[in-house]
């Protein structure tokens, strides 16, 4: 065993600050990286497994009335299994809460083989007065097992707290823009409980599992269209048909977890880059500090590899301990807050850890390998010098800048500080980049919320009318009183399961007679007459949901294509005359689409593509739409010339619920962006919380080397009669100026990096988040950086006080 090993404990003690810094850097980076990415990976594995494990549906449909057994059999013969899954939306009240909430009753027996559920607490309901509610809803309403809730007028005991696999995200309607886990919940009850609580209310929903579960979306969409045809052929009134990939309650959470992982990978990647910077500086500092020892060892015929091995022992040990501690901390303490980021919003199944080799390599192996490689290369490169060069401490490259002549007119203190600066310029350059990355981290964490806030404002202001009504099928507002009455009759007939017995012969005949004159080829007419004035100001448009390739990632951006009239009142500034194609500014920015470019839009359900040449760019940076003349869009999509799918209206309209998909208002757009803000909020808080200690460690480690390599001269100063505060002024002020200049000077670079990273990270999220950083935010970053540095400077001043006078008196050639 090499006798040098005895030096290691002493070296550790002597350079405790340095090794502690490396250890903490490892600890924080790995804890954060492995904590989050492992949690996200585990959640993703759980989500991915649900499809098979919990038998999540491939699609579901709903009919106006209970579908006939022959209809179901006909659908099943096409190649799938249908599970009856009737639900009922009923009011729910919680004791001590005045709000009436919406509870979707599910018969737990119908979920035995499809869309299965998981219990977190309590047990399955057994009696008809027992109920199990969604976990997130219970958390938001402080409900515990054993509590009593009133459901549709019945007192029911909360027997269990559960999550249902097709309601990871509590969306009341698939067309809703936001989830609602506060006043909406799913509820599992027994068959008797369902019958007793739901009363006569029923939503006739059927869950389908395909025989061939490997079918892709396009094949599945075609299959589902055939299913719809079969059901209509069997005289069923289809009210809903949703594919699993279009079911927001199922895919929203999965998408969120997937997209967030990219963000965390980028953040951990930035940390790894920062660590590489630090290792380079620390290795050089170690070699300089140990120059005489290395020279002596070389002169004593120690081999270079023995010396390299000796100097790699401590960094390696510290790295290993840091990796182990980081993983332990990440996978225990930090995994929980990371899980809660999602489990507080989404009704996911119980968490279980799944090891990811990729995450381990990314968060642990790469940083450790970086430490080893940087240290090894740094030592190997320096060991090219002769033993004498080491003994004479002539291994540090003395650049021309350090021998610059400074103007005599400059006071001694300024010149001295400049000399410190020039001597340590390479360290300060690294410090500049290190600070830039830390500021980037901070700014990234701080700016995202205001950016989303601004996005919310833009989204809201982009809604050109007070109401944008999207329809499931064209529905005319304008009609004669007879037409309105006739369609009311149709609705009445459709809503009656057995018209003859329910309405009586006369009632049935009256309704049937009213409908006889209806033109089957014409668009249906709204049952309510909204009045001439309201109808006149409402404007028809066509709309289609298509996709366009994103630039950075190999993914598709969902966009909305509007077909509007040339003389639109609501889109007055959008000139779509003469076949012009106008794209939103957001779309132009995110997908780098410019005037004159040809864009290819894809329908993900049919794989059809449409090529369009861009004529103009319009709207805000949040606008991800494409605008065409209505007729042109109808022609493009092969629709009838008079087809339309929405109304823009400044007046609130009464539109038949059966035809209404959604009502977009400026407020609803704002609320949806607010939800985005909420989902980012906790995560960004964690980013900032990590950025500050990382900043402290980094600045401490990088500036410590400046003090360390000057310790001998600091000691001289003390011998000459300098007070500690005078020495601090000479050394620490030079560092302070560098840190402050780096903090302020790096801002343009940091802004550029933030733009780059946010663009990269946000590419997978739908929409275009334009980075806009308020000057006050930049001031905040500088202030946090300066405050963190103040702590470091205080440590340095304390260390300068501790520099021994005897350092100067050591005989050193």
């Amino acid at each position: 065993m090499s006798p040098l090993i005895k030096r290691l404990p002493r070296d550790l003690r002597h350079n405790l600050g340095k090794y502690l810094g490396i250890f903490l850097l490892f600890l924080f980076a790995i804890a954060m990286g492995s904590g989050f990415l492992s949690a996200a990976h585990s959640i993703q594995v759980i989500q991915d497994g649900l499809h098979e494990k919990a038998h999540v549906e491939d699609f579901h449909f709903a009919t106006q009335f209970e579908a006939a057994a022959t209809s179901i059999k006909a659908v099943e013969e096409m190649g799938c299994t249908i599970y009856e899954d009737f639900t009922a939306d009923v009011p729910l009240t919680v004791r001590g809460d005045d709000r009436t909430m919406n509870c979707r009753l599910i018969n737990q027996d119908s979920r035995a083989e499809v869309n299965q559920y998981y219990y977190f607490e309590g047990t399955e309901p057994v009696g008809d007065n027992e109920i199990a509610l969604d976990r997130v809803f219970c958390k938001n309403n402080n409900l515990q097992v054993g509590d009593t809730v009133e459901v549709n007028g019945r007192e029911m005991a909360l027997a269990g707290i559960a999550s249902v696999s097709d309601y990871e995200c509590l969306m009341e309607k698939n067309t809703d823009m936001l989830f609602n886990s506060t006043t909406f919940t799913i509820a599992l009850v027994t068959s008797d409980g369902f019958a007793a609580t739901a009363g006569a209310k029923r939503d006739y929903r059927y869950d389908a599992v395909l025989d061939d579960r490997s079918m892709d979306l396009v094949a599945r969409t075609a299959f589902e269209e055939d299913v719809a045809d079969v059901l209509v052929d069997h005289d069923e009134v289809l009210t809903d048909l949703v594919d699993v990939d279009s079911n927001m309650a199922i895919f929203f959470a999965t998408d969120d977890v997937e997209s967030d992982q990219v963000m965390w990978q980028v953040l951990v990647g930035m940390l790894v880059v920062i660590m590489a910077f630090v290792f380079v500086v620390l290795t050089n500092a170690t070699i300089e500090q140990e120059s005489a020892v290395i020279g002596t060892l070389l002169a004593s015929s120690y081999r270079k590899r023995e010396i390299i091995a000796h100097y790699m022992v401590l960094p390696t040990l510290i790295g290993v301990v840091g990796c182990i501690a980081g993983n332990a901390m990440g996978l225990t303490y930090l995994s929980t807050p990371m899980q809660e980021l999602y489990y507080n919003s989404y009704s996911l199944p119980p968490y279980e850890f799944h090891f990811s080799p990729d995450v381990f390599v990314f968060t642990t192996v790469i940083p450790f390998a970086l430490l080893e490689v940087v240290t090894f290369l740094g030592l190997a490169r320096k060991l090219r010098f002769t033993p004498l060069a080491f003994l004479r401490r002539e291994i540090a490259h003395r650049s021309r800048r350090s021998t610059l002549r400074l103007p005599d007119g400059l006071g001694f203190v300024r010149r001295f500080q400049l000399r410190v600066l020039l001597r340590n310029l390479s360290h300060f350059v690294v410090l500049f980049f290190g600070i830039s990355f830390c500021s980037l981290f901070l700014l990234f964490g701080l700016c995202l919320m205001p950016v989303v806030e601004r996005y919310a404002d833009l989204m809201s202001s982009d809604v050109v009318a007070h109401h944008i009504y999207l329809l499931k099928a064209p529905l005319e507002l304008e009609g004669t009183p007879e037409q309105h009455a006739a369609y009311r009759s149709v609705e009445d007939l459709l809503e009656t399961d057995d018209p003859l017995s329910d309405l009586g012969f006369v009632g049935y005949a009256r309704l049937a007679l009213r409908t006889m004159d209806l033109d089957e080829d014409a668009h249906p007419v709204n049952t309510v007459d909204n009045g001439e004035a309201k109808i006149a100001q409402a404007e028809k448009f066509s709309v289609a949901s298509l996709q366009i390739p994103r630039v950075i990632t190999d993914t598709m951006e969902p966009i909305t294509v509007y077909g509007i009239s040339e003389d639109s009142h609501y889109w007055a500034d959008v000139d779509v005359s003469g076949g012009a194609v106008v794209v939103g500014t957001g779309l132009s920015q995110k997908c780098r689409v410019h005037v004159g470019d040809t864009i290819t839009l894809t329908d993900k359900y049919t794989n059809s593509t449409y090529d369009l040449v861009v004529s103009d760019v319009w709207g805000s940076s949040a606008n991800m739409n494409v605008y065409l003349e209505q007729g042109a869009l109808n022609e493009l999509l092969d629709n009838d010339p008079d087809y339309f799918s929405g109304y823009a209206s400044d007046e609130e309209l009464q539109i038949d619920q059966r035809y209404l998909a959604t009502d977009i208002t400026p407020e609803s757009m704002r609320t949806s962006a607010d939800q985005m803000q909420e989902s980012f909020g906790d995560m960004m808080g964690m980013v900032v919380a990590f950025a500050i200690p990382v900043y402290l460690i980094l600045v401490y480690l990088l500036t410590k080397t400046v003090i360390d390599r000057s310790s001998r001269y600091i000691s001289y100063m003390k011998v000459f009669g300098y007070h500690d505060n005078e020495i601090s002024r000479l050394y620490v002020r030079a560092i302070t100026v560098t840190v402050l200049v780096s903090l302020v000077g790096s801002l343009p670079f940091v802004l550029w990096l933030v733009r780059f990273f946010v663009t990269f990270v946000m590419d997978r999220y739908s929409g275009n988040l334009e980075i806009w950083v308020a000057p006050s935010l930049l001031a905040e970053v500088v202030a946090i950086g300066a405050a963190a540095y103040a702590v470091v400077a205080a440590v340095h001043i304390w260390r300068i006080r501790r520099v021994s006078l005897s350092e100067a008196l050591k005989v050193q050639e």
């Binding site: 350090s402 410190v420 001289y716 011998v719 000459f720 009669g721």
Partner: protein, 240 residues
């Protein structure tokens, strides 16, 4: 106390003791040193390695505290000063010259001298001093660009520029060749003459005793010799 000349001594040391370690490892480095020096004297301190020369210098310089005894420099009772006052004492009264110059490598010759000029309220004129030291041509060079002798001249300038009353020189010629050593000794002699500062030179070079007013020799922490030199020889005439 009075010196051999009868006046009040500038430097008065009484029963100075210093030891390191404790228990069995305790080593007595200085064992009750008592001596005194007049203002403007050049005192040479000899002694074999481990005799306590450097410790003696450190105690005079206020770099470490004595275990016992007193040191008075001018009106200052050094042995009773607190840390902050010791800094003031070094700042006001002392100049240090080291064997290996201990220049700051990233400061020019001029800037190295300015390091201590900055501390003094009444420094010597910098340019005149640089000329006196024969460094005018080299004033904007860095230490590694000049010879060892020039570096030691610079170190002397650095010690001298704040106009100290006591100059402590630890082997000032120890790292220099014969001719350069003689140049340095001549310079020290001139500095002593022109600026009238008291000088204590720690050395192994016995020849330096001829240019010194006062000769001290330490052996095992005790004074083995404390004599005055009645016949000074100019530095240029001494040989070894």
């Amino acid at each position: 106390m009075e010196t051999t000349s009868g006046s009040t001594p500038f430097l008065d040391i009484q029963g100075l003791t210093k030891s390191y370690g404790s228990g069995e490892a305790r080593t007595e480095v200085l064992r009750g040193i008592t001596t005194s020096m007049n203002q403007g004297e050049v005192c040479v301190l000899f002694g074999p390695s481990g005799s306590g020369k450097s410790t003696f210098l450190n105690l005079l310089g206020g770099l470490e505290p004595a275990d016992g005894g007193t040191i008075r420099v001018g009106d200052t009772q050094v042995s009773s000063l607190r840390d902050r006052d010791l800094v003031e004492y070094r700042r006001r009264e002392l100049g240090f010259i080291f064997q290996f110059y201990n220049l700051v490598p990233d400061l020019t010759i001029r800037e190295n001298i300015e390091v201590t000029q900055f501390l003094s309220k009444d420094p010597l004129p910098l340019d005149d001093l640089i000329r006196t030291l024969g460094l005018w041509e080299h004033r904007n060079k860095f230490p590694n660009q000049v010879s060892g002798g020039q570096q030691q001249r610079c170190a002397i300038g650095r010690a001298l520029v704040k106009n100290p009353r006591l100059l402590l020189c630890d082997e000032p010629t120890g790292a220099l060749d014969y001719h350069t050593s003689k140049e340095i000794l001549e310079l020290l002699e001139r500095v002593n003459r022109e600026y009238a500062c008291t000088m204590i030179i720690v050395t192994h070079n016995d020849a330096i005793r001829h240019m010194s007013h006062h000769i001290l020799r330490l052996r095992d922490g005790a004074l083995a010799e404390d004599t005055l030199n009645p016949s000074l020889v100019p530095a240029r005439d001494i040989t070894w």
